[in-house]
Chain length 492, copies 2
C-alpha cells in the first residue's frame, strides 16, 4: 500500500503480479506453482460460480462429484487424452509415511506402503467419469446425462503465474452423454454460447467465438469450441472451451446404449470448462495503474462508505447517515461496506479501495453533514461528484449499470481496434511486433503451416471465427488457397 | 427398483449400503475407497453447503482456498498433528508419466520426474494454512483471521463405507487466528453451537454437545468440542468437531504478532469442520425399510407430482392442473417436480420417489379431475389423504414444517430412550450388547481406563457432556472417584 504499483507501460507482467498480490487476490504458496486464493479473490470466484451454476442449472445440468484420483490404467485408456496430459501429471505412489529411523522428528515415505497401481491426480476428469458412465447407461432412457462438477485439478506446469497458469486450479467441468451426434454438437455449442454470455455480461469482457484448429484442440476432442478475449498488452486469452468428443471416450470405456430401435450404439460426448484463470482475464482486461477495476456484477463490495472525521462525536454523527444509506442500498440489492475502522486513516482507505477496485466510493465528512451531501467517486473513470444524500440510492443504482457498460465498451473498443487484417507474412510479423492484438489472416488449413508460423513468431491460431465471413485468399505463409480468415495472436 | 431393500432388522449395514446406491446418492468408484457422489446425493450436499455457508458468513467468516498439497517438511512441523495423520496419507512423489518403452500403448511413471520433496495430499489443512498465516500476521490489527475453506481431503482409510468413511471426502474446514486464548475458545464453542443448530434444525437430527476425552481429541488440539448423534442401530456418530488448538500451530510455524501493548505474542488458533459424512448420518437417522426419508429443509425435491392417466388427452388435462399447482407451490418457495415422463409407469414412479425420500407426493388421476381433488402422501408416515386442489398450497406449506418437526421428534424420542445410566461394568456390557445407544457412566478420567474399556467392549467415550450435571460417583472399571458421568457408545 505504501509504494506505487509498477505501471503497465513499465512492465506489464510485473504490474500484473504486483496487483494480484497487493490487492489481496492471491499469493504464491509453499508448494511450487500452487496459489493461495485469498478471501477477496475467492469472493470474486464465488460470484462467478453462483452465476455460472445458475446458468448451467437453467439449461438442465446437475452437479455431481467424481474422485480426485484416476488409476493409471483408466488414465491411459483414451490414448490421445492420455498423451496430452501425461507430461504434467502429479502421481500418487504411496499411502503412508513413517518415522525416519535416523531422525525421529522427521517423516519419510514408507516403502512398504507402495500402491499396486499408481494414481494420477486428475488433470481433467473424462477418464474417471466415462468409466463411471459405463455403469449408468443401458438404454436411450438413461440419456442424456447432463452433469457438471466443481473441482480442483492439477497440471504440473513448469512456468506458472497466479490465476493464469497454476499447478492446481479450481474449475468446473461439464461432462455430458447423448444419443446422437447432432445432440452432442448442439450441447457443445450451447455451452460455448453460455460462456460467451457470462464473460460478456458479468465479466464485461468482449469475446470472439470460434473453433480451434486441429493443433490447438483439446486432447481427445473432435472439435473444440472456444471464446477468446484480448488483454491490454495485446495478447489473447482463451476464456472458455467446450469440446465435442465424438465417440472417443465411449469407445475407450465401452459405453453403449440400446437405442429406441433396439440397436447397440456408442454414446456421444461433450465436455466443457472454465477455471480460476478467468480471474486473471478479469484483472488484465479492466485494471489500470492505480490497481484493480471490477465490474459491478462481480464486485464483492460494490460500494464502500468512508467516514472523514475528527473525534468520536463526528464519527457517530456520520455513522447515523452512513448506516441508513447502507441499509437503503442493501434493500435494493447492492453490497455495501461501511469502513468505520479507527485503525486506518481515510487516505489509506481511499487508496486501498482504489487498489481493490471497488466500483463506487462514498465519502462523508463534516461538511457533507451540514449540506446533506456526499462525495461519490467512480473507480472506472476515477471521477468524483457531490451528490445529495437523498439521491444516493438512485444514483448508485444507475452507476451499477453504467459502470458495467462502460467497462465492456472500453474493452470492446480496445479489442475492435486491435483486430488487424494482413495480406502477407511481412505485414503479419510487423503487426505482431508493433501493435499486437488479433491478426486476421488467410491460412492454408494445415497444422504444418500453423506450427511453422508459431515457430517463427510465437503466434498461434486462436480460433477460426464462427461468424467469420467466407472469403477467398492465399495463405500468408505458403500462398496456398484459403476460404476463410482465421485469427492469430500471441496468447496467455 | 425391482427388488426390495434388505430390511434394517435383517442387516442394518447392508440396508444402508443398498439404500445409498439404489436411491442414487452415491456409489463406489474405480479408485479404492473413493466414492462418486451422484447428482441426487450431491444436491443434498449443496443444500447443506448453502445453509452452513450462510451461517459462517453471518458470523463474520470468509471463504478462501489453500493448496491441495502439503510439502512433507511443513506437514511434519506440528508433531502431534503429523503423527495423527502420517499413517493414512496419499503421497505424490512424481510429476510426469512417460510411454512404456516395452509397451507403447501404456504409460509408466517417469523415474526422472521425481520430486525433490514429496507432497502430501492434504488430510486436513492446518499445516499449509498456518504456514500461510505467518505472512499475514504482523500486528493485532491483522487479527482475528476468520477463514473457511470448502475442499476435498484425503485420508487413506483401510475400511471404507460410502459417505461414512471414504478415502477422499468433501468438507469445510474453518481456520481462525486470534489475539487471546479466551477469544479462540469462544470461537471454537461458537462454531460447535452453529453445527448443533444446523444439524438439529436442518437435518432434523438431535445432537448432544460436549468435549472429547484426551484420547479422542484431534491430533494437535488442546480441546475438541463435538456434537454426537445416535443412529437407528444404536451406534453413535460424530457429526461435527471444533478444535481449540492453543498456540501449537503458531509455535510450529512461528506466527507472532505485536500486541496493542507492543509485545510479541504467539497467535491463538481454532479449526472446525463438517463433511459429507453428515449425509451418512442423515440417511441412518431417518430412513426406513422403504428407503430414504428426507427432512423438507434438505430435500432437493420437496414435492413430486405424478399424473395417473390413460392416453395423451388425459395427460394433457392433468398437466394443466399439475403445472398450475407446481407454479403456485414454487411461488411460496417449495421445490416441485412434475414427473410427466411417459417412459415410466405411475407405480414405478411411486416406488422410486418413496425410495428417494421425497417428503410429499401428489398423485392426480382422472377422478381427481372430476372431483377437483388430489391424493397427497407423506413420506415420513406413509399416510395418504385426499385434499381439494385449492387447498394444496396451504396444506403443503404446513406439511413442510410438520414433517420437519416430526422427523426431529421421532429421532429425539429414539435417542432419549437410548441413553442409559449404568453403575458398574457388568451393567455397562449388558446394555451395550442388548440395547446399545449412549451409556452414561462414571469414569476415572484416565486415558488408560478409557482404552481398557475400548479394548474389552469396542465402546469409546463419545463425549463429556457440556451441560451434564456434576455428580460424585465411582469409575465403572476401576472404582476410582469420578465427578461427572460421560457418554460411552460404539460409534461409526
Ligand atoms: Zn494498441
Ligand atoms: Zn432400542
Amino acid at each position: 500500500m505504501s509504494k506505487k504499483l509498477t505501471t503497465r507501460k513499465e512492465d506489464y507482467s510485473r504490474w500484473y503480479n504486483e496487483l494480484v498480490v497487493t490487492a489481496d487476490l492471491a499469493e504464491n504458496s509453499a508448494v511450487r506453482g500452487c496459489m493461495v486464493i485469498k478471501p477477496y479473490g475467492y469472493a470474486i470466484w464465488e460470484k462467478m460460480q453462483a452465476e455460472l451454476d445458475r446458468m448451467f442449472k437453467a439449461t438442465g445440468h446437475q452437479n455431481a462429484y467424481f474422485p480426485l484420483f484416476v488409476p493409471k490404467s483408466l488414465f491411459e485408456a483414451e490414448e490421445k487424452n492420455a498423451e496430452g496430459f501425461a507430461k504434467e501429471c502429479a502421481v500418487v505412489t504411496h499411502y503412508r509415511l513413517k518415522t525416519d529411523p535416523d531422525n525421529p522428528s522427521k517423516l519419510i515415505v514408507d516403502p512398504e506402503a507402495k500402491l499396486e497401481e499408481e494414481l494420477i491426480v486428475r488433470p481433467t476428469s473424462e477418464a474417471i467419469i466415462w468409466n463411471t458412465y459405463k455403469g449408468w447407461v443401458q438404454s436411450y432412457r438413461d440419456l442424456p446425462i447432463l452433469i457438471n462438477q466443481w473441482a480442483n485439478v492439477v497440471r504440473w506446469e513448469m512456468r506458472t503465474r497466479l490465476f493464469l497458469r497454476t499447478a492446481e486450479f479450481l474449475w468446473q467441468e461439464g461432462h455430458t452423454a447423448h444419443e446422437t451426434k447432432l445432440e452432442a454438437i448442439a450441447e457443445a455449442e450451447q455451452m460455448n454460447n453460455i460462456y460467451a454470455e457470462f464473460v460478456e455480461n458479468f465479466m464485461a469482457i468482449p469475446v470472439i467465438k470460434g473453433v480451434k484448429s486441429e493443433n490447438e484442440r483439446f486432447a481427445g476432442a473432435l472439435e473444440t469450441y472456444c471464446i477468446e478475449a484480448l488483454m491490454q498488452d495485446g495478447k489473447a486469452l482463451q476464456a472458455g472451451t467446450s469440446h465435442f468428443l465424438g465417440q472417443n471416450f465411449a469407445k475407450a470405456f465401452d459405453v453403449k446404449f440400446t437405442s429406441k430401435e433396439g440397436k447397440q450404439e456408442y454414446v456421444w460426448a461433450t465436455s466443457w470448462g472454465v477455471s480460476t484463470r478467468l480471474i486473471g482475464a478479469l484483472i488484465m482486461t479492466h485494471s489500470d495503474d492505480q490497481g484493480l477495476v471490477l465490474p459491478p456484477n462481480l464486485a464483492p463490495i460494490q460500494v464502500v462508505i468512508v467516514p472523514i472525521y475528527k473525534g468520536e462525536e463526528q464519527l457517530e454523527q456520520i455513522s447515523v447517515v452512513a448506516n441508513e444509506m447502507a441499509e437503503k442500498l442493501r434493500e435494493v440489492g447492492i453490497s455495501v461496506k461501511f469502513d468505520n475502522r479507527d485503525t486506518y486513516k481515510p487516505g489509506w482507505k481511499f487508496a486501498q479501495y482504489e487498489l481493490q477496485g471497488v466500483p463506487v466510493r462514498i465519502a462523508i465528512g463534516p461538511k457533507d453533514l451540514e449540506k446533506g451531501s456526499v462525495e461519490l467517486a467512480r473507480r472506472d473513470t476515477l471521477s468524483k461528484e457531490v451528490v445529495p444524500q437523498d439521491m444516493v440510492v438512485e444514483k448508485v443504482k444507475g452507476l451499477m449499470i453504467e459502470i458495467q457498460e462502460n467497462l465492456f465498451e472500453r474493452a470492446k473498443n480496445y479489442r475492435d481496434s486491435h483486430i488487424t487484417e494482413v495480406e502477407n507474412f511481412e505485414e503479419f510479423k510487423e503487426v505482431l511486433e508493433t501493435k499486437g492484438g488479433f491478426i486476421s489472416a488467410h491460412w492454408d488449413g494445415t497444422s504444418e503451416t500453423e506450427l511453422k508460423i508459431k515457430d517463427k513468431t510465437k503466434a498461434t491460431i486462436r480460433l477460426i471465427p464462427i461468424d467469420g465471413k467466407m472469403e477467398d485468399g492465399k495463405c500468408i505463409l505458403t500462398g496456398n488457397p484459403s476460404s476463410q480468415r482465421v485469427l492469430f495472436a500471441k496468447a496467455y
